[in-house]
Amino acid sequence: MSDDGERGTPGKGLVQGLAVTLKTMTKRSTTRQYPDVEPELPPRSRGVIALLEENCTVCMLCARECPDWCIYIDSHKEEVIVPGAARARQRNVLDRFDIDFSLCMYCGICIDVCPFDALHWTPEFEYAETDVLDLLHDKNRLGEWMRTVPPPPAHDVLGEPSKEEATASRKAAGPGAAKQAQANVRRPAATTAERPSRASQKPGEPAADSPQAPQGIDSDSPPPEPPK
């Protein structure tokens, strides 16, 4: 019956074909019933970008690095009078922060370059619109996405401590205790999992008891001076 050159046992292919389909029938189907059942997204899924407005210093790095220029930022300067200071300080106030998701290509460069953790990936993906203009999310809408930002994965317990942590613990332990500090910095790694409320994080570990709170969270407070 078959015209091909290779001839095995007659009918073997026919039986194999039936076996494959029957075996598939007994297995669970791979269909995901998406609108009825929420999909299980892998960690660090890139759904939409959220903005934590308090962290933004209007440094414009994100807007400049964006490959398709889909971030629009307007701001103005404001004077803040600090009691006891010689002169008033200036700070930037964000007026407008829009991301046009009809242009965005989800490269995540803006999130990578943001020095102050103002931009975050969230796995939320159901923001399709019937009008393409509605894909321009303003800062309020971007801020609402913050609720859906998952906590970052815990640090690798076997990994090296960050440079800041290592320096801080060395300073706290005093000179000559570098060996012991090395052993201690391993532990605070686990507590750093409770982001994004990092600004309120208490330095609970004795070894990390030093100005290691992330800098630039409150842009109006002067950056802490490293102790001499």
């Binding site: 026919l14 074909g17 389909t21 598939t24 029938m25 297995k27 189907s29 791979t30 269909t31």
Partner: protein, 319 residues
Amino acid sequence: MPLWLDLLVRVVAVVVGFLVLPLLVGQAEHKVMAHMQGRLGPMYAGAYHGWAQLVADGVKFVQKEDITPRDADRGVFRLAPIVALFPYLLILLAIPLGPGGLVAQPLDIGLFFVLAVLGVGVLAVLMSAWASGNKYSLLGGLRGAAQLLGYELPLVLSAASVAMAAGTLSLPGIVEAWKPWWLLWQAPAAIIFFVAGLAEIRRPPFDMPIADSELVFGYMTEYTGLRFAFFLLAEYVGIIVIAALTTVLFLGGWHGPFATHLGWLWTLVKIFALSFVIIWFRVAYPRLREDQLQRLCWLVLVPVALAQLVLTAAVKLAM
């Protein structure tokens, strides 16, 4: 029971079977095919696993516009779906369900009648193909005619073999004469009958006349709405008919444990098992090319069917 009531009950029973069994097979096809391909199939219509999908399809077909192409031969074009569907209804009349005369119309020449009516199918194919005034329809129709005429021969020869073994043309008579060892004796005839039957109802892998990847939809290209639904219904009733005929002729119909009481159940179980195999073939096998199709018929099925006839005659004479 007066005669008219008796007739009414029989006809209503056959019509109900004619309408319900294809729906069951159609739903089974949706689900079995889906799961064999790792899918779920219809899940929405009727809330529970899409059980009402075919009902919804029917409602949709009724709502569609009934289009007759301008160049079509109107009368023939409109008649063809009925011609495709009606013979199967007549065949169901003659198929015995259980022992003790559980058959709508016992016929002494039941087998002859059934095969003759089954042959009307080719007429519907040619009518719809020629009357559509469409080149794809015509090509599909000619392929269908060649295929149906070709496969009629092994179908009839293998049926003749079992009729010769039973010594009767009556379908209930054949089932009564059936013995379990016939499964072995008539095995080649059974396979040939089943395969040729598949080709007769144009089911994959013998769906060359429809061949939707090259002929749009063959002789059904121009049909819409209810007339198209009739063709689809004819296909599913065809599955039932071929499965039922194979059951009655070769698998012993109602024979099985507790046959006197549960004979009808045995027949139905066998019919549905064969329907499952027909669906299974559709999922597993690719469509036969036109030349492979004819080669299978004339170089494999017909000679084997003739050999089976000789074997049947020899065993019959020796007994």
